[in-house]
Subunit: 221 residues, 4 copies
DNA sequence: CATGAATGAGTTTTCATTCAT
DNA sequence: TATGAATGAAAACTCATTCAT
């Protein structure tokens, strides 16, 4: 699947990249705050530091901004994940590390990821598949890691189990971001990682469940 | 937390409820298809079967419709959950059943739940808390069930573990709906329930992991 | 060829007609003055006596206004022509009268006709044919009248001659309007009618050319 | 009346002329296709083969382009006419030839003439008179030719008749271009010339009307 | 002289909301 | 209560023109 090209009137590729970076940065901040639909193109231009006319030298429609934002976020996360996961050996230890790394990325890019998950649905029919593909790729990285573990004999999992676990890990990563209003009152990132990993490894019936002391349990509103 | 009141000019309570039901039904269908922002009040009125003027006899702003929709969905899901979970004994078997029931509800209300999760963020600052509260309540039901299991000695879990597991179950339910583009190609609902439950109970290291035969693995597009 | 329908949100046909009449009246005045492209929809709305929002309850695009204007002018001229020409006997006298009538119509509707001839080309590809058809119909009325004269033995003309003469008459009618900057300095309408008719009937070589005394020859700028 | 000067930043007269020729050529093609208003200055620059910045070194406003185009077309037609008509003797034969020549020019420059007649009205108030003057000059050439015929005793025409005939001839020339959608389905250029000339000379009542055999009468769509 | 990136006023169009009937 | 015509603020997008390089 080819990357969808966003047309720009400006020829200088270097400049295009620079302006788009400004644009994305400004847009993410605005989308985070008011969502894609409530953000106007003028606001985006202003946040990016240039005029509305200039904005439209680098995109054709408002939706292009959203696509650019999503694309950029995916690329970032994707790159990070690739670096972290691909060279990992198929051992339980490296799986654990991989998960921890991923959750950390999701924590760092919380804002961006949140924006993306709330706005992808606003992408038009022709941009969506590309974005979904990216997501599948990332889930695929976890599948690969898990498969390597299975091949190494470290884990015994059916194909379906590999798939579902990859999805679970992925969703738990996102969860930390988009349910932060609940989760981050209860846990620190480290605790979250620890708890989720342990749960994943041993299940709720497992005796081995370490009883981590409950700190940061200020549940009260 | 009191239910946010949506003002109506019409006095007849019976009529108000009837009209709002029409409205919600129409709106859900439209939101599902085009999202909240791309749906106009005229379309909502038409889908509800009355005029734009009448629509505004029962709400004050377009956002009221969204609130009403979310509220109605939450009430539905919440009611169902309450019926299923509250009277359940604190046994592993009933926990299992509770999860299965929940996933089934999420499957049945897939469309509505999807709509809600994509649009809640469009709720204004004063409607959001009420809706979030509802969500917490539902997570709370799972917490209670788990706690009963712990109290019964069926499970050994820290408070934090109870909390995180409740969230996980909840999110895995939603996942079935909002990642259906990926998951429902891979699994039937029954398989999904089976796989997730098993995983939750025994973890990935558990030897007990039943190797359910992989059917419906038509991963190919 | 069916009349192209211009969509209106408003249901009441009576009202639609009334509003469109206001609209056309205002638009003609503006187009006359500044042309279609230099006229804004807001100006049209204002000239019509209602708000921009209301304007768009009765049309979908700015081009609809142009189409409505052209259509209305054609209908007017066409109706007038039909009344004047269709019942005319096939005699030279009635042909003369028909031409005089037509030129008078063109004089009365000068402004409208001018507007139309300057702006039809701005009609989109799907509105143009309908408008051209109307024009052909009008030329056709002269063809019919001429043909009746030929059948009566009052004139001896080939089919091609009938066609070209019909076009000539038609264009000379328009000419009075769109070359008024030159012609109306030289002639009164009556003189113009007299001169053109005589010319048409006897040609430039005809001895019979009456030497109408030259008044209104204030050629000087 | 002095030719309106279009300011240019560039000094080199040779270059100015070259660039303007490129510009006019490109612009005519574009105007023909989409009209003056729907053509952007960027498109004109591109079609001319240079950048938008360069375009503005040779004009001050977009309207200058239109003026330049109109001016150039007029000059062309005017030159051609002058060559054809001025040295013509005042005989019927040379009048006939003059008309035929003119119609031929109009046929050759059809596109340009069409463009001009559709767009002159877009010229601002201060460019229009100059352009109108040019048109008067051309009509004047026919007036002169006719007057010479009258002086020679070949024709008996009042001053007013001379004027109106000159206008008729001129308009019939243009007609061939701007009513080509109708006329060119009915006649070849030769037939058109023949028919119009004959009509002009003998009128519709004239017995002398040759019955040219009707070919190319594929009136059907 | 040539370039093309930047600008922002201006344009069309939409749509939530009101209110007279 | 129900209706739907009227409103106008606000939004996306365009494009003639300028000016630093």
């Amino acid at each position: 699947m080819k990357k969808r090209e966003v047309m720009a009137s400006v020829k200088d590729e270097r400049l295009v990249q620079k302006r788009r970076d400004q644009m994305i940065k400004g847009a993410v901040a605005l989308f985070k705050q008011k969502g894609f639909h409530r953000t106007t193109t003028r606001e985006i231009a202003k946040a990016a530091g240039f005029s509305i006319g200039t904005l439209y030298e680098y995109i054709r429609t408002k939706e292009d901004v959203l696509y650019l934002v999503c694309d950029s976020i995916y690329d970032h996360v994707s790159d990070r994940l690739e670096k972290e996961l691909d060279n990992k050996k198929g051992t339980l230890e490296s799986l654990k590390l991989g998960i921890a790394n991923f959750f950390q990325v999701m924590d760092e890019m919380q804002a961006e990821v949140l924006v993306m998950y709330q706005e992808v649905k606003s992408l038009s029919k022709d941009a969506l598949p590309y974005v979904l593909k990216k997501e599948m790729d990332m889930v695929g990285m976890f599948e690969n890691l898990l498969t390597r573990c299975v091949e190494n004999g470290e884990l015994k999992l059916s194909e379906q189990q590999v798939k579902i676990i990859a999805h679970d890990i992925f969703v738990q990563g996102q969860m930390w971001g988009f349910r932060r209003w609940a989760l981050q009152k209860l846990f620190t990132l480290e605790q979250y990682i620890e708890l989720q990993t342990e749960l994943l490894f041993t299940g709720i019936k497992g005796d081995a469940l370490k009883m981590v002391p409950d700190t940061k349990m200020d549940v009260g509103k």
